[in-house]
């Protein structure tokens, strides 16, 4: 899958390239809007565009509008260093694109990117059961079992576990959890998410076995899938 990354900052460009390449994407880099347009014309099939709003030669939003007029179908993930995200950017969100405010965590970038690409591609057969190791989630009946044992989970705990399962083997950050499970883009001063994870662990993990949910300090959590 080929991505177009439009970012003028060298450091960030390098970081994005490394992160995305390691995750298996092919990456075309463009430091300016003009370069981005050249890449867009030559590239055959773009899966997504990652775009920094503050470009030296053109406003990022007008670039998107122009590229879309020229036939860009791929979804756009906007990186914004602007503090409160502009109305216009939020408007795009509803149009199938997404935004991420700097600084962001690499896992969050990857998760949002996956989300965007999935939303933009034809729907695959609907998943009704998630299975990770011996953990099994029935999404229709909203029941979770570990091995043979049925887990007693609250609504939010089930949603949290579902989110971790969907991203099994990949790191999810606290702000992703807050956004996806509770629908809030907030940055709590206190350890609210950690306590939810801690409680979930108490219900999901059995004593003595290797922990299922790993904490990665400063980054987030990952549900072990092997």
């Amino acid at each position: 899958m080929r991505l177009l990354v439009v970012e003028d900052d060298v450091q960030n460009r390098r970081f994005l390239e490394k992160t995305l390449t390691e995750s298996g994407y092919e990456v075309s880099l463009a430091p300016t809007a003009a370069a981005a347009e050249r890449v867009f014309r030559s590239a055959v099939n773009l899966s997504a565009v990652i775009l920094d709003l503050g470009l030296p030669d053109e406003d990022g939003l007008s670039l998107i509008t122009r590229l879309k007029q020229q036939g860009l179908r791929a979804p756009v993930l906007i990186l914004s260093a602007r503090r409160s995200v502009d109305d216009r950017v939020r408007g795009l969100e509803t149009g199938g694109d997404d935004y991420l405010v700097k600084p962001f965590a690499a896992p969050e970038l990857l998760a949002r990117l996956r989300n965007l690409i999935r939303r933009n591609s034809p729907p695959v057969d609907n998943v009704t059961v998630l299975q990770v190791l011996d953990l099994r989630l029935d999404l229709l009946r909203r029941e979770a079992t570990r091995g043979d044992e049925k887990l007693q989970l609250t609504t939010h705990e089930f949603s949290l576990l579902e989110f971790l399962c969907r991203n099994a083997g990949r790191i999810v950050s606290r702000s992703m959890i807050l956004d996806q499970v509770w629908g809030m883009r907030i940055e709590p001063d206190t350890n609210v998410v950690d306590v939810h994870i801690y409680r979930l662990r108490g219900k999901v993990e059995t004593r003595g076995s290797e922990p299922l949910i790993r904490t990665i300090r400063g980054v987030g959590y990952v549900l072990r899938d092997k």
């Binding site: 503090r83 409160s84 690499a106 907030i186 001063d189 206190t190 609210v192 950690d194 990665i216 400063g218």
Partner: protein, 475 residues
């Protein structure tokens, strides 16, 4: 709601202006009439006195020259009759001239010599004697049976007789009364017309002022683009409109400037933070044996905290300048509060703090949901950070009369008295606070940006309390 208040104020001002100007006009008219009335009544008196004096002289002459004899009475009587016919009256048809005029001659010994007039001469004689009228100086007498006093003059003949000629004040009074009626009816009409004219004019003028006020009031959180419609002419209100428009241009410019500054400041600080965070994260994920995970993880967390601090302080700065950008939508504060209390509950319980939520049901507000989320998160963070284990915090949500009321009570140590008065200022924190000093400033800023109010107080015997009111959504 604000425009309704304005129009009420406009009507009051129009009433006040018209009331005062009408009052002043009416008082002026009454004073003017008072002087006019005095002048006219004096003039009428002067004229009737002149007539009386002239007539009494003629009568005196006649009485003197007519030989005393059998014909004397008849001749004088005739002359007096004639004189009474000359009375300057407008209502001769309706009134017997004898009612209006009388003639009386007294001898030197004060005995009645001649009486021409209506009624009994003695009715007149008594007041005339009492009044002691001197020749050439007119005087007034009241006569029994005649409701209106008489003006009389006297003349002395050479024979020592005194001749009195009296003229009823009736006609003068009638004239003056008619003048008063004319004046009051026309005066009242003019005053009424004046009131209507002033009222309509001031209403129209104030309506133009109101248009300016409405525009100026609308300028706030969301609308910086409205302008007072361009007014032609160069009167005071047109100048006011132009001045307000000029001021709005400057406000819009400085708010936009503030946004540019805060945005570029955020951009300039965030880009390097993104780079640092990215690098730390790369190292952290590559550090498979976990040797550096503690310092690296805490460095990433510090960067996240720094970012939030930056965001919050710029938000509070913008809010203090009433320039917070809102993206409003209808949202149910009740559902939102339940979700967020649910989110925070485990973390608070872990700290030994109990959280309760009482609500009277849905409470729809028209607000920016992202800001509301962060505002409520700040309140709960505040509780988590400041309450000791064993405390209890209670959220009470209710709605009444277009207002949503949220009361947050706790039974903790309360606010230190020295910080209570400036609790919502930036970087104000209690002596033992671990916070940034921005949380409550942010809460207050968000509430104010949504046209709400927040107050904080200490409870008795202990604890703190926040009261937040927000306007309910009209939908």
């Amino acid at each position: 709601m604000s425009s309704a208040t304005n129009s009420r104020r406009g009507i009051t001002a129009a009433w006040r202006i018209s009331g005062w100007s009408t009052l002043i006009f009416a008082v002026g008219a009454i004073v003017a009439f008072f002087f006019l009335h005095r002048f006219v009544s004096h003039e009428i008196q002067r004229r009737s006195d002149a007539w009386l004096l002239g007539e009494v002289e003629v009568l005196g002459d006649v009485a003197e020259r007519t030989p005393k004899g059998i014909l004397y009475d008849r001749i004088v009587d005739e002359i007096a009759e004639l004189a009474t016919k000359e009375v300057p009256t407008e209502s001769q048809n309706t009134q017997n001239p004898n009612d209006a005029v009388f003639f009386l001659e007294l001898g030197p010994d004060n005995s009645l010599k001649l009486w021409v007039g209506k009624g009994n001469s003695s009715d007149y004689l008594t007041p005339i004697r009492a009044a002691a009228i001197r020749p050439g100086i007119p005087g007034n007498i009241s006569v029994v049976g005649a409701p209106i006093p008489f003006r009389i003059v006297a003349d002395k003949t050479e024979a020592g007789d005194t001749i009195y000629l009296g003229l009823s004040e009736h006609n003068n009074r009638l004239l003056l009364r008619r003048m008063r009626v004319y004046f009051f009816s026309s005066g009242a009409t003019i005053v009424l017309l004046g009131f209507i004219l002033v009222f309509v004019t001031s209403r129209r003028t104030l309506a133009r002022v109101e248009a300016v006020t409405d525009i100026a009031a609308r300028i706030g959180q969301n609308d910086l683009k409205s302008r007072v419609p361009e007014v032609d002419g160069n009167d005071e209100i047109a100048r006011l409109a132009r001045t307000v428009n000029g001021m709005l241009d400057r406000i819009e410019k400085s708010v936009n400037q503030l946004h540019t500054i805060t945005d570029s400041l955020a951009h300039d600080l965030r880009s390097p933070m993104t780079a640092i965070r990215g690098k730390l994260e790369m190292v952290l994920l590559a550090d498979t044996n976990g040797q550096w995970s503690d310092p690296l993880g805490s460095a990433v967390e510090e960067i996240d905290r720094l970012t939030e601090l930056l965001t919050k302080s710029l938000d509070v700065a913008e809010a203090n300048a009433d320039a917070l950008r809102l993206r409003r939508q209808h949202l149910d504060l009740n559902a939102l509060l339940r979700t967020i209390v649910d989110l925070y509950e485990p973390s608070l319980t872990d700290r030994g703090i109990r959280v309760d939520l009482y609500s009277t049901g849905p409470a729809t507000i028209f607000a920016d949901s992202a800001l509301m989320h962060r505002m409520l998160a700040n309140l709960l963070d505040n509780a988590g950070k400041h309450l000791p284990a064993g405390s209890k915090v209670t959220f009470r949500l209710s709605s009444s009369a277009g207002q949503i009321l949220l009361i947050v009570d706790d039974d903790g140590p309360g606010f230190p008295p020295e910080t209570l008065s400036h609790l919502f200022e930036r970087f104000v924190k209690g002596p033992h606070s671990k916070g940034t000093g921005l949380g409550l400033a942010f809460v207050e800023a968000v509430v104010r940006a949504h046209d709400g109010q927040i107050t904080a107080a200490n409870r008795t015997p202990q604890g703190a309390s926040f009261t937040i009111t927000l306007p309910a959504s009209s939908v």
